[in-house]
Amino acid sequence: MPINYYIFLSVALFCIGVAGVLTRRNAIIIFMCVELMLNAVNLLLIAFSKMHHVATGVTDPNAGINGQIFVFFIMVVAAAEVSVGLAIIAMMYRNTHSVDINFLNRLKH
């Protein structure tokens, strides 16, 4: 497939994630939207990895593998982030019984 298709697909997914972050006010959903953004990037990276492999795979059989490795690391980090993030949200919920970010306005100006 032309790489452009993947690019636009990923960008579209990414922007849906962004729009989600912007429109929702539930912290968990926002966080999920961020995960969507990360996955869009993952898809893009894998597509690029493939693209590079196609381009230079003749000389270097492992060409493009670094993109996949990177995706692997993204997943790792995402997992870590999720654990921390959910812990923070849970802590917040324990204290305020809400995950609505609109109530996060003690700190301003």
């Binding site: 962004v18 972050v21 912007l22 926002i30 609109n102 996060l104 003690r106 301003k108 100006h109």
Partner: protein
């Protein structure tokens, strides 16, 4: 001896320092003696110098004391010039000065010790500066003396500083002088710019090379200085107010010496003036106008010193008229005679005031000739002298000026003649009101009436004699040929350069003399007749009121100059300074604060808004980048 000329100003300076620094510890007689003695010493040296200068073949001597200012190519030495002109002035200053010092010793007796010493120290300082003025070999030294005498005048007018009116008068004198000085100063700058020097000899030597326009400008500027110092229109109003000072001061500074500095300066610069006919005309016109204006005002004044003050202004006008028509000798001659009789008149006035216990209003005097015989006689002589009755000194000097004026333009002569008539009139009005008739003061004053002590009368007598005979040093050519000693003496200085006097026939000259004498006599008699028995005591009306109120010149100045400046200053202070300039400065500060307060609201606390703004930021960066690429 000429090389020791610096001793002349040195003595008064020493006197000033001693009296000034040790005024608390000196007794009155000590400070009086020091004050007068130093002037006497100067006078003696001046005399010696005079006799040296008088000898045939004397060449002017420049005595350089030290390098005063030296910057780049400009070099201004602190040097004195000894020539006939300066020598003559030395004599006037130290001679009359000494007499007035002597007089002051008695006159100021009522002051306490420290103030007494202060008075003499100021007086000595004045003499010092006056001597600098006339001795200076360049315009800067002249200017030092010029401003210095102004300062002393300021200090002495405000001598009784507790009276705020006196202080105002002092301030006014200083400031009006400063206005004139400014013109002088700018003239000096212009001369430096043109000639690269301020020395008289250099400038006069190079003067013909300069353009007429330049010379005219410089001479006019110098004349502005002279109008300030010598109380000419438009800067004359300070002089009558200056009568606030002790009367001997008025005699010395505001009659005999300082106010003639302008004449000295212009006479000194006559080479420049000769090159600038326009300036000469201006000088003559101003002088003539001043004669009439001041004389008219004098007619209706009732303060004995004010009358004399306006008379001084008027007489100075004669001198300027003389200068304006190129009669430098004659002007200087008038300076000399005027110094005698005007000092005399002032001192007499002082004697009267002294006797009257401080009263200066002539309406409250009258019939003083019985009680003050010496004063009366001497005052009368002064009056005759100033009125121009031959053979008193004033006649010679005034008539020589008038003759010269006639030679230039008969209109000048007519104005001068009219002035002379008015002069005779108001002087004898003053004389008659004061000394004739009956006493109109309080009984208490009458009880105290007495002749002044001899320390005061001796100077009166000396000056009276000089007023009478002083004119003989300058007998006109038509009367006795080659008898004009003064002209002979001064010619080496004043006859240089281009002279533009027109010779007039001897017969005409005689006729002019006769005319002025007759008219003056007529006015004298009219005034005596008019005022001896029925002095004018009421409020004047019509023109008389205008004259009494000095034609409202002070008020006009106040309205046209002082008040607008004050208003402008107030406007600057209140509005421009505080609201506009500082307002802008503070406004910037407030704007920043306001910006800070408003920008804070961007920080709304909402995560959604933050992310939105971030996205907007990203979009903007992309847009910029897209545009940048194209």
């Amino acid at each position: 001896m000429s090389n020791y000329v610096y001793l002349v100003p040195l003595f008064p300076l020493v006197g000033f320092l001693i009296n000034g620094l040790f005024r608390k510890s000196l007794s009155k007689s000590q400070s009086g003696v020091i004050g007068s003695g130093t002037i006497l010493a100067s006078f003696i040296i001046s005399l010696i110098i005079f006799f040296q200068v008088k000898q045939e073949g004397f060449q002017p001597v420049t005595v350089t004391l030290f390098e005063f200012i030296h910057a780049g190519k400009l070099s201004i030495p602190f040097s004195f010039l000894v020539d006939p002109l300066s020598t003559l002035f030395l004599l006037i200053i130290t001679g009359v000065g000494f007499l007035i010092h002597l007089y002051s010793m008695a006159y100021m007796q009522e002051e306490n010790g420290a103030d007494y010493a202060k008075y003499f120290s100021y007086l000595n300082l004045f003499v010092f500066f006056m001597l600098l003025l006339v001795l200076g070999a360049n315009y800067v030294i002249l200017f030092i003396g010029w401003e210095g005498v102004g300062l002393c005048s300021y200090l002495l007018i405000g001598y009784w500083f507790k009276n705020l009116d006196f202080d105002n008068a002092a301030k006014k004198a200083f400031i009006m002088n400063r206005i004139g000085d400014l013109g002088f100063l700018i003239a000096i700058f212009a001369l430096i710019n043109q000639f690269g020097s301020v020395s008289f000899d250099t400038i006069f030597q190079k003067a013909p090379t300069a353009s007429t326009g330049f010379i005219t400008a410089v001479t006019l500027l110098l004349f502005v200085g002279a109008t300030g110092k010598s109380a000419q229109i438009p800067l004359y109003t300070w002089l009558p107010d200056a009568m606030a000072g002790p009367t001997p001061v008025s005699a010395l500074i505001h009659a005999a010496t300082m106010v003639t500095a302008g004449i000295y300066m212009i006479a000194r610069s006559h080479i420049l003036y000769n090159l600038a006919p326009v300036s000469q005309t201006v000088v003559a016109i101003i002088g003539a106008a001043t004669i009439i204006l001041a004389a008219l005002i004098a007619v209706k004044q009732n303060d004995i010193k004010k009358v004399l003050a306006y008379s001084t202004v008027s007489q100075l006008g004669y001198m300027f008229l003389g200068l304006g028509v190129g009669a430098y000798n004659e002007a200087v001659f008038h300076v000399l005679t005027h110094a005698f009789f005007k000092a005399l008149l002032f001192l007499c006035a002082g004697s009267v005031i002294h006797a009257m216990g401080g009263e200066q209003d002539i309406r409250k005097m009258g019939g003083l000739k019985k009680n003050l015989p010496v004063t009366h006689i001497t005052f009368l002589m002064g009056c005759i002298a100033i009125a121009g009755i031959p053979p008193f000194s004033g006649f010679f000097s005034k008539d020589e000026i008038l003759t010269a004026a006639y030679a230039r333009n008969p209109v000048y002569f007519i104005i001068g003649l009219a002035g002379a008539m008015i002069t005779a009139f108001y002087m004898f009005r003053l004389y008659a009101t004061t000394f004739r008739g009956t006493f109109r003061g309080t009984p208490d004053q009458q009880h105290h009436l007495h002749e002044s002590p001899s320390a005061m009368t001796i100077p009166l007598i000396v000056l009276a004699i000089l007023s009478v005979i002083g004119g003989f040093v300058g007998i006109p050519e038509v009367m006795v040929p080659n008898a004009n000693l003064l002209e002979h003496f001064l010619d080496p200085v004043l006859a240089t350069g281009v002279r533009q006097t027109v010779e007039i026939p001897a017969a005409t000259e005689w006729m002019l003399m006769g005319l002025s004498t007759v008219l003056a006599l007529a006015m004298v008699l009219f005034a005596l007749y008019r005022f001896s028995k029925n002095p004018e005591l009421g409020e004047p009306v019509g023109l008389g009121k205008w004259m009494r109120d000095k034609f409202y010149v002070d008020e006009i100045y106040d309205t046209l100059i002082v008040k607008p400046i004050n208003a402008l200053a107030g406007f600057f202070n209140r509005v421009i300074e505080n609201e506009v300039i500082d307002g802008v400065v503070n406004g910037v500060g407030r704007l920043v604060q306001y910006g800070g307060r408003q920008l804070r609201y961007l920080q709304s606390g909402q995560v959604g808004a933050y992310v939105l703004l971030m996205v907007v930021g990203i979009v903007i960066l992309f847009v910029v980048q897209l545009f940048l690429r194209k």
